[in-house]
């Protein structure tokens, strides 16, 4: 049987090393660990596993350190691992099997990179060269593992490589908690720079250099280096697909969509089954407003087959991610049904993909029809554990669907202790159900020292404000103000007090962004409680100019809660000052349409279209309006001329279209 030597270089890896060495136990015949200056228990752990440990002073040279480990290896094969990696599941047996093969000098193996954090983990596969025969003249050169491929080829022209799909290394180094510190990244960059300056023709080095630049967010430089590495490259180069994907990403992040798109087309010419590239082509087109093109790209991404390992395909690009973008495009085209279909497809592909669930929830309008929304959500999701209920509750809360949010939060909390924040959210939901006493009980339970205390206090005031209890509001406002709030928050709190005064003069409050956001939130909750007059009393406290500036948001809010006349007034006010605002034209058009003022609506839709012809809803709004006008005319006509069957038939036709 062929013997396998595991070689590693390490420094201060006590957190990771044990996991790594456990994963190879029984599958490698010796362990060589070269330590470049650990000050923790790394070396002791290595010895526990029977490793041969050698100190080697770090001299800014990866190859020399790596080669030092090779010098000690006695096996027939070398497996190289980093401490933050481990062998997956049955990869040990695979290792045994493939090292028994004749006529192979080395293997590209699959690496699964873990990204993100505890809450949202993603994986990104890759293909790297880590397993090769132990021969005297196979030695590392340069900073990159893969450079040894060239060395082996130089020494042995007939050397053949394979891809070992089933040998999987799991890599945890990109997890948020573990991401290399900045100076480590910079160290890598400077080593690569140094090597490149002495070997400027080396494509592999330049590729890795470009990737490092991308990682430290120097996108334009990354794009330039990657483009240079790709220039004139042999299309059979194993890392070319990855290189081109990085190039697309670098151009995209550098704000060069045109170049990114050109790279997409070029790459698809070479690799017409590369799902990632279709996905990014779709994403870039989507961001550019080229929806037709985005649509095509994403449909292609969805139809791609299983991706070969050397594409290092990102998870979800031919699944939930593409679905999610398609759903968003469908929403832009005002087609909620189609959007829902895509979001659900996305969620099926990855039940942990929260953005899809959020969008589904939004489309179900849980605030307008909680029962229907609940039915749909129960069909879609498994609510097996309280955590799921809490999550759903939070999503619903963010959509201001308080009634339904309350149900889920209560179910989630009944079986486990919830955080103060969730308790607060639950209390807010209670307020929105007019269950003030229960809510007050929770608000009062939050300690003075807790960071959420001011928020709880504010909500307590709101409880009384909604009930018009001037005395209590006055009292608690003074308390709250004594806590020392920000200027804006203080101003809003003051408005709550002033708005209840019997004959208060307009106080002309000026709010900044923060204050306005808070005010809009309070207004929303007021309208949710159907307290239109109370909301208006609050708005009356605002300074005229400040009101003008925010009239669009206020108008939209009133429209959302069905107060058309008020919405009309504020949107009109906003348009008078901002005649070029397409969004205000559109919303006002919707308001007018709801009020039955079709001709005015027509004029406004057209104005929105002239101001911004990029948004599909402007065309759709106009088309729907013409259709509504037509069916109104025909309905009237059928009444006036009951003997004209052609009119009735046309009316049925119009009805069938919708």
């Amino acid at each position: 049987m062929n013997r396998v030597s595991l070689c590693m270089i390490v420094k201060n890896e006590e957190k990771n090393l044990r996991r790594c060495l456990q994963s190879v136990q029984g599958y490698v015949d010796e362990i060589i660990v070269v330590d470049t200056g650990s000050t923790d228990s790394t070396c002791r752990i290595a010895r526990e596993f029977g490793a041969v440990v050698r100190d080697f002073p770090w001299n800014d040279d990866f190859s020399r350190a790596r080669n030092a480990s090779l010098e000690l290896a006695t096996g027939d094969w070398i497996l190289f691992l980093d401490a933050d990696e481990e062998l997956a599941g049955n990869s040990g047996e695979v290792l045994r099997r493939i090292t028994a093969e004749e006529g192979v000098e080395g293997y590209f193996v699959r690496v699964i990179n873990y990204l993100g954090d505890e809450e949202w983990v993603e994986t990104c596969p890759d293909l790297i060269f880590r397993l090769f025969r132990n021969r005297k003249d196979y030695r590392f050169r340069g900073a990159i593992h893969e450079q040894i491929v060239d060395v082996i080829l130089e020494k042995n022209k007939q050397a053949s490589y394979r891809i070992a799909d089933d040998l999987v290394i799991l890599h945890y180094g990109y997890m948020n908690g573990q991401i290399e510190e900045k100076n480590k990244k910079c160290r890598n960059l400077s080593i690569l720079e140094r090597e490149l300056s002495s070997d400027p023709q080396n494509r592999l080095l330049r590729y890795h250099y470009g990737v490092e630049l991308y990682r430290v967010e120097r996108y334009a430089e990354a794009a330039a280096e990657l483009a240079r590495a790709a220039d004139g490259i042999d299309p059979g180069t194993i890392y070319l697909p990855k290189l081109l994907r990085y190039l697309v990403l670098a151009y995209h992040s550098a704000g060069m969509p045109r170049q990114a798109m050109e790279t997409v087309r070029l790459c698809l010419g070479l690799f017409p089954d590369y799902a990632d590239i279709y996905y990014y082509g779709g994403l870039i087109s989507y961001e550019e407003g080229a929806y037709a093109q985005a649509w095509d790209f994403l449909q292609n991404a969805l139809s791609m087959p299983e991706q070969p390992a050397y594409y290092a395909s990102f998870s979800g690009v031919r699944g939930f991610r593409a679905c999610y973008l398609l759903g968003q495009i469908a929403e832009i085209f005002c087609n909620e049904e189609e959007a829902l279909r895509y979001y659900i497809q996305g969620l099926r592909d990855n039940p942990k993909f929260i953005p899809a669930l959020e969008s589904i929830t939004r489309i179900l309008k849980p605030q307008e029809d909680p029962d229907y929304a609940r039915d749909c959500l129960e069909k879609l999701c498994e609510f097996g554990d309280p955590q799921a209920h809490l999550l759903m509750g939070q999503i619903l809360f963010r959509q201001s669907a308080f009634k339904l949010a309350l149900e889920y939060l209560e179910q989630g909390m009944s079986r486990q202790e919830a955080s103060a924040e969730l308790k607060l959210w639950k209390a807010i939901c209670l307020v929105q159900q007019c269950r003030y006493l229960e809510a007050l009980h929770i608000f009062d339970g939050i300690e003075r020292e807790h960071p959420l205390y001011p928020l709880a206090k504010l909500n307590k005031i709101l409880c009384f404000w909604f009930q018009g209890n001037r005395r209590k509001v006055q009292e608690y406002v003074e308390d709250l103000l004594q806590l020392g709030l920000s200027r804006d928050t203080g101003a809003v709190v003051g408005m709550l007090r002033d708005s209840l005064k019997k004959r208060h003069k307009p106080s002309g409050v000026v709010l900044g962004e923060e204050g306005m956001a808070l005010l809009l939130d309070i207004l929303m909750r007021t309208l949710d409680l159907k307290e239109k007059e109370r909301a208006l009393s609050l708005i009356r406290c605002l300074d005229k100019e400040c009101l003008n500036k925010n009239a669009l948001a206020i108008g939209e809010l009133f429209y959302r809660y069905g107060y058309l006349e008020v919405a009309e007034q504020y949107l009109g006010m906003y348009l008078e000052k901002n005649p070029e605002c397409a969004a205000a034209c559109y919303t006002l058009a919707e308001v007018k349409r709801c009020m039955g003022l079709d001709i005015e609506a027509e004029s406004l839709y057209r104005r929105a279209l002239a101001l911004n012809p990029s948004l599909p809803r402007h065309y759709i709004g106009l088309m729907r309006l013409y259709k509504n006008m037509r069916s109104k005319i025909l309905r009237q006509a059928v009444e006036v001329y009951p003997d004209a069957p052609v009119l009735r038939r046309l009316l049925e036709e119009v009805a069938a279209e919708t």
């Binding site: 093109q293 002239a610 599909p616 088309m623």
Partner: protein
Amino acid sequence: MMPTIGLIMIVRDEEDNLAACLDSARKTVDEIVIVDTGSTDRTMEIARRYTDRVYSYPWHDDFSAARNYAIERSSSRWLLSLDADEELDLSRGDLRMLVDNAGEYEAFFLPLYNPAGSYPGDFTLFPVLRFFRNSPAYRFQGRIHEQVVIRRPEAVGIAEYPGIWHKPATGKKRNRKRSRNLALLRRAVAGEPDNYFLQYYLGVEWLGLGRPQLALPYLKNARANLTDGNILFRLPAIRSLVLCLKALGMTDEAICVCLEESAKYPSCSDLFFDGGLLFEETGEYEIAVRWFREAVNCGPQHPLFSHTNGTGSFLALYHLGHCHEKLGRCREAREYYEKALSANPDYFLPLCSLFLLDLVVVGADQAWDRFRAAGYLERPRHLEVLADLFFEAGCPDLACACLERLPSPGDSGNLLALKQMAKYQLYAGRVETALENIGRLRDAGCLERDLEVDEVIALILKEDYGAAKGRAFSIWRRSPGAGWALLNLLSLMRDGSRCGRPEATGHGEMIETLLAVIENCLRFRQTRTCGEGCLMARRYHHLVSMAMQLLVDLSPDGCLSLSEYLRGKADAVCRLATAKYGKAWELMT
């Protein structure tokens, strides 16, 4: 002394053209010989005003005989042959210069320009041998499509000027000529089955008469048998064949012809252009782009190539823009349209395309700014075209802004522009100025019906119901339908009353008038939500709803046409969106 240059012509019933022809040429010739073959109009009389060498020659179906008769009556050293429907263009050089530098040359090709007439620069160029030494060896041959034959090609020079401009014939006259030619040609072809010039001409005549089936064999023969020595006729024969195949729906064969011949004449832009058009029409835009690019890269055309002006420049550039637009590459499309426009500012299709492109990319208002910045709001013709487009796109205010940039906007001298202006002003909300301009048109005696209707609308908008009623009555006397619609509209607007049931006649006219009022009043763009602008907007809107109500109350047909009108509006928006979003739009809605 012998005169140097003689003009020889054969004419019949050319009183409309002859004077212009002779005026254009007389400065550069020393002698004019005119042979009349049987005019029954004032042709002879006009001819005699220019020369005393006017002869009669009995027509016996032989062009060459008549022309040679004229040659024999001339004593000049050089001869210029013109037809009465042609004019000589001496602006870039005259015949004397050619004579002085003739050297060994025995004759010259002169460029013959055939304008198609839809815009300046819309012409094809065809070199013709029309200027030659007066020698007994050089005589016209052929009973029809007669040519002077000179055996040694090297003795024939190619002159770039002076050019001959052929006047496009009116439909009736052209058809008369066609049927005369056809009879002659069929006889000639039968008599000379190996004469491929004649076959080419016969093919062209059949094609022109809308009979591609009959044209096809002749054109195929012409292409197969005319040699490179006859490139002058070979190229037009190829192009006619392509047209003919296309007309017969044999696109693949047409493409084959273009492929083979463009490989043979790689500098002939016409062939690449024709090929591009074929691919464009079959929706193969990527391939079409390559062909049009080749056309642009051809460079100046060989002087012996007959040639459609622009196939190597503005025409190909325009089609490049169109193909890119179809491929969803708006930026490239825009660049090509702009190039096309600067190559020939009188060819304004690219301007229309740019307009539509901008309409869905940046919107009407920004489109206007862009056009101004790009310098497209300078030429009067561009301004008129764009004004129309803006009006049709529902922006009468911008239409006005275009016309106001004319050198003398609202000048009574330019009645067409004044009419446009009055209409655009009215629906842009500038009622008073519109009324003034309508008044000036009335004074000039050219107030058309639609503007009369507009005038009543203007008076209603002004709430001058008395004057409106007067005008509406005057319309009613001549067109009861339109009058009834307007009278009802104005009483509805004044006090909500009606003027009784409509008469039985003029029902269609009522519907038409009311729909026009709706369409035009909907164009008004409200830019203010309160104050004066809002008040105006309310009146336009009110007019629209009253007109709609009238249509519904009028009859089932009224309802039907209103319903169809609204369907049309929705469809127009849908087309705009489809142009913008392509397939995504269809999938989503």
